[in-house]
């Protein structure tokens, strides 16, 4: 599904250079559930953003669906994002001016999905996330767990091949966190590839494989499934 070769990312601000990623080589196969762990500031989000085509690497290669895309233009990346990727963030990032329904509908609008099909798909995913009864509420009227379920609904309504989640439980209490993890897990079972950044070992337990990052470098990978089997 995706592969990085010697991926590097440097930030330059006010003449201070920060190297966020150093020679990262990572491969994710179709159907995998990968967790990225590591201390704060080690480059997890940076990596996820590059994988999510929200950012370009400074050097190195990045293959997504067998295409080398590290030199793609903003417009090309926007198109790939729109069609193949779904995002879930720690801070939900729902649009406050839109209702639950309208938030979930948004990706389909950008995909120019027809009216009837759009309605059907939104309803279906709202049901699946057990949030349908709140469809006309605005984000501020929902609890954190509910908001994150809406965010997940929005991320998967376009049936993305790859779902990226940056500390999806970071702003939630543990009960709501477990709920969200179960949702992600079942999405993965239905075939969605997931890459998730997390601090929580409990959350990481849901993944097939854990990638440990330290100071911008991958220091270890442990494939849990093999251990269990």
């Amino acid at each position: 599904m995706l592969k990085t070769v010697n991926l590097q990312k440097k930030y330059t601000t006010d003449e201070v250079e920060t190297t966020a990623l150093v020679n990262v080589n990572l491969q994710v196969r179709q159907g995998e559930f990968v967790a990225i762990m590591g201390p704060s500031g080690c480059g997890k989000s940076t990596l996820l953003n590059i994988i999510g085509l929200l950012d370009n690497p400074t050097s190195g290669e990045f293959y997504f669906l067998d295409k080398e895309i590290s030199k793609f233009s903003e417009r090309q990346r926007a198109n790939l994002r729109k069609e193949h990727l779904g995002f879930v963030f720690q801070s939900f990032n729902l649009i406050d001016e839109l209702t639950v329904y309208e938030n979930v509908e948004l990706p389909l609008i950008y995909l120019k999905v027809g009216n009837a099909e759009r309605k059907q798909r939104v309803e279906q995913v709202l049901e699946q996330m057990q949030i349908a009864h709140r469809r006309n509420h605005f984000p501020q009227q929902l609890s954190g767990g509910q908001q994150q379920r809406v965010a997940i609904a929005r991320a998967v309504v376009s049936k993305p091949k790859l779902l990226l989640a940056d500390e999806p439980t970071g702003n939630l209490d543990s009960a709501h966190g477990q709920e969200v993890m179960q949702l992600l897990s079942s999405l993965n079972e239905q075939g969605t590839t997931i890459v998730m950044v997390t601090h929580s070992p409990t959350d990481a337990d849901y993944a097939h494989r854990i990638v440990n990052l330290f100071d911008g470098q991958i220091i270890s990978e442990n494939v849990k499934e093999l251990a269990i089997l």
């Binding site: 417009r75 926007a78 001016e97 950008y110």
Partner: protein, 803 residues
């Protein structure tokens, strides 16, 4: 997609109600002004465009070069029309007309017991030939106007005159007596003259009848009157220049002009008349193209100032939208899509402002009409031109105001936007915003400076010493040629204690009545190549108007020209230094018809508006041409004095209508156009300042909100409220100063040009600029301080908690 944009737009705007209101009201004010100015400009440009031959109709004017300077006139001698018809067939149709300055109309009753009704009209009584209707396309309703004015002593009334003179009756066939001289048969009632014509009329009388009213002109080539005008249409394909040359060849054979003088008849396009105050129009309204441009520019500036608010507020607000933009980008929205979204939002605000401004304009139009003495109306739905204008405004404002913010917002990097990490300075386009604020301040200051200067010049008109007394003096017209009847009653006129002095004269000192004459001075040997202004008045004139004598005495009472009094300019022109020297010298005027001695020299006084210089004046007596009784009265007993004067007047002229005007009012009328312009300037610069303040207020409140935490920290660290206000003000003071440096020269340039029109004008003092600068500074600082003080007095602990 658009539904989604629309929902978000409406909800965002509602959530930031304050911001939305500032934007909408500011924009609406700007658009209202531009809408009103558009209406005014469109009206002014529409004068006489409704005639089918409009673009090939001309008026014959004359340009003269005399030793007193150039003179221009729209009047032509009587034989002009016959000459054109005989020698210039390509000038066809051609017609002449005569416009009276006023008249008395008596509705004769067929019943002896009912007294006749009398009406007085001050202007717009027009004498025309049937050919008038071949040339012009005035609305005549169902009346065959050509036929109706075929016979002598006929009149066509406009509807409003018919309603006034013959309420509830059919006037056709009735008789109207004019100036107690001529009986006119009403042959029809036509619609009122359109508002947008420079040939306005209350009634149209057959041309032949004018000869009984206009008795001061004769059939010679040398008798002209600016109210006797010739109009013609140029046949397509013939050369205007050639025709003009040919006409001048012919006229030069007949016209007698003084040696050293030159004159040329020129053809003025009908469609240019309205914009050329050189020759004037019968509507006595003209507006220069420059003024129209200025108004158009002001309209655009007001929209610009309002749009700048928009850009400033929207870019400042952009941060608040960063999360939404970031998320939309994550979901795959392209930059053009986001730009479309934000442009739609601007479009929505503009649309609301536009609708609001249509309502405002509708409400304000009556006041504007009153101010400009116009009758403009508009009904949007039946006015495709207007709809087009509004659409143009909508598109222009949306793009101008929306493009930059949309560009900035849609250019956010998605991750930074989500983290609200977009650099404040860059987002807010700080340098651009500064530039725009400078532009706003510059426009405001230019408008303030222009307003002050225009206002001062108006004040100068009002208060400048004209060389005579204009307070508490009434000018009462007397029937032409009949001044003697009332002069005989002078003891009675002056018997009332509130009547201080009376004088009969051709006109008050400053008036639009001129009588020019060639002259010879002293030994008659030197041929002087300038003419003099003959001011004919009785022996009480100087006393009534408090005009001082420099030497000699006022002339003695007489009915004909016997003795002369001249003014200072006259002496300068003939080269006499000492006024005493002129006393006793012989003078010959009126083509040698009148000879007499100079008995006095009078101090210079103004003969017309301050636009013109004082000409050489020769004063003498001639009862025959006295058109006015001028009476100095006691201000506090004005009512009694006027009643008394009216009584005596009516004893002398029982068949006429008494009317009067206060002298200072008639002088103020010289400056009507300027007054109107001054009012317009005042109103619109005020609005520009209001809009500018709205924007400033919004911008500062945003800045304050952004820096709440900083202010909190500073306060905790012991900063005083004053220093906090200073923190926010310093920036704006700088901007005002930059604007001031730009605004000064621009406004000086334009106002200096404007003042050149007046021979007597104020000096532009540097204090005007300082005052304007100080005023803008004050306004800006007040606006800033109100917001900054709120921040300064807020509880620092609360401020720090809000993150």
């Amino acid at each position: 997609m658009f539904k989604n944009y629309f929902l978000v737009a409406v909800r965002t705007l509602r959530r930031n109600l304050g911001y939305t209101m500032l934007n909408v009201i500011g924009l609406a004010l700007g658009i209202t002004c531009s809408l009103l100015l558009y209406l005014v400009i469109r009206h002014e440009l529409s004068y006489d465009t409704f005639h089918s031959k409009a673009d090939r109709i001309y008026r014959i004017n004359v340009d003269k070069l005399t030793a007193n300077g150039p003179e221009t006139n729209a009047g032509t001698p009587f034989p002009m029309l016959a000459t054109i018809k005989a020698s210039l067939p390509e000038l066809s149709p051609a017609t002449h007309l005569y416009n009276t300055e006023g008249g008395t109309f008596t509705v004769l009753s067929n019943n002896d017991k009912v007294p006749a009704k009398k009406f007085r009209e001050e202007k717009n009584v027009l004498f025309v030939e049937p050919a008038f209707f071949d040339l012009f396309d005035f609305p005549t309703g169902s009346v065959n106007a050509r036929q109706a004015l075929k016979d002598v002593n006929t009149v066509l009334l406009t509807q409003s005159i018919a309603d006034r003179y013959f309420p509830g009756e059919n006037p056709v066939g009735k008789v109207l007596r004019m100036d107690n001289v001529v009986n006119l048969k009403v042959t029809g009632v036509i619609p009122d003259a359109p508002e947008n014509t420079d040939l306005p009329y209350l009634m149209l009388i057959d041309y032949e009848s004018s000869k009984k009213i206009n008795t001061f002109m004769n059939d010679s080539w040398n008798s002209t009157n600016s109210n006797q005008q010739v109009y013609f249409a140029m046949s397509p394909g013939s050369s205007l220049k050639q025709a003009e040359d040919r006409l001048n060849q012919i006229t030069s054979k007949y016209r007698r002009i003084s040696p050293g003088e030159k004159e040329r008849y020129i053809f003025q396009p009908l469609l240019q008349m309205h914009f050329d105050d050189e020759y004037g129009t019968l509507s006595s309204r003209t507006i220069s193209k420059t003024t129209l441009w200025a108004l158009g520019l002001i309209g655009m500036f007001l929209v610009l100032v309002a749009s700048i608010n928009f850009v400033n507020l929207a870019t400042a607000q952009a941060l608040r939208r960063s999360k939404e933009v970031g998320m939309r980008k994550v979901l795959g929205a392209s930059k053009p899509q986001l730009m479309t979204q934000f442009l739609c939002e601007t479009g929505l605000i503009t649309l609301v402002a536009l609708l609001l401004s249509v309502v405002f304009a509708e409400l304000l139009l009556p006041f504007l009409n009153q101010l400009l003495e116009l009758q403009i109306s508009f009904s949007i739905l039946h006015d495709p031109q207007m709809l087009l204008f509004l659409l143009a405004v909508l598109v222009a404002v949306t793009f101008f105001a929306g493009f930059y913010p949309a560009l900035v917002i849609s250019g956010f990097q998605p991750i930074s936007a989500l983290k609200s990490k977009v650099a404040t300075a860059r987002v807010a386009g700080l340098s651009l915003r500064r530039t725009l604020v400078v532009v706003q301040f510059t426009i405001c200051q230019v408008l303030i400076i222009c307003t002050i200067i225009v206002h001062n010049q108006m004040e100068y008109f009002r208060s400048a010493s004209l060389g005579f007394d204009k307070e508490a003096i009434v000018n009462i017209p007397v029937p032409a040629g009949k001044a003697g009847d009332l002069m005989a009653l002078r003891p009675q006129l002056e018997s009332h204690s509130a009547v201080k002095a009376t004088s009969f004269a051709i006109a008050p000192p400053s008036a639009n009545i001129d009588m020019n004459s060639s002259f010879q001075y002293d030994d008659f040997s030197v041929d002087r190549n300038f003419s003099v202004n003959l001011k004919l008045a009785d022996e009480n004139y100087l006393k009534t108007f408090s005009i001082p004598l420099l030497a000699g005495r006022m002339y003695e009472k007489s009915d004909t020209m016997q003795e002369f009094v001249v003014n200072e300019t006259f002496l300068q022109k003939v080269g006499v230094k000492d006024p005493q020297e002129a006393i006793g010298k012989k003078l010959l005027v009126n083509g040698g018809q009148n000879e007499g001695k100079i008995v006095g020299v009078v101090k210079d006084y103004h003969l017309s508006s301050l636009r013109n210089e004082i000409p050489p004046v020769v004063m003498s007596t001639m009862t025959q041409v006295y058109f006015y009784l001028n009476a100095k009265i006691e201000q506090k007993n004005a009512k009694a004095a006027l009643a008394h004067l009216q009584n005596v007047w009516l004893t002398a002229y029982p068949d006429d209508v008494f009317h009067y005007e206060f002298f200072d009012d008639s002088i103020a009328r010289f400056y009507e156009e300027e007054q109107r312009q001054a009012h317009l300037f005042k109103v619109f610069s005020f609005i520009a300042i209001v809009i500018g303040c709205l924007g400033l207020y919004g911008l500062v409140s945003f800045m304050v909100a952004q820096r709440t935490k900083e202010v909190g920290v500073r306060k905790v660290l012991g900063a005083s409220s004053a220093s906090i206000v200073g923190l926010f003000s310093a920036d704006f003071v700088k901007l005002v100063l930059i604007a001031f440096v730009i605004a000064g020269p621009i406004s000086y340039y334009f106002m200096d040009k404007w003042l050149q029109d007046f021979s007597y004008r104020i000096n532009i003092g540097y204090w005007v600029f300082l005052a304007a600068g100080a005023l803008t500074l004050l306004i800006a600082l007040t606006t800033v301080s109100v917001q900054a003080l709120r921040a300064a007095f807020s509880n620092p602990v609360r401020a720090l908690k809000t993150e």
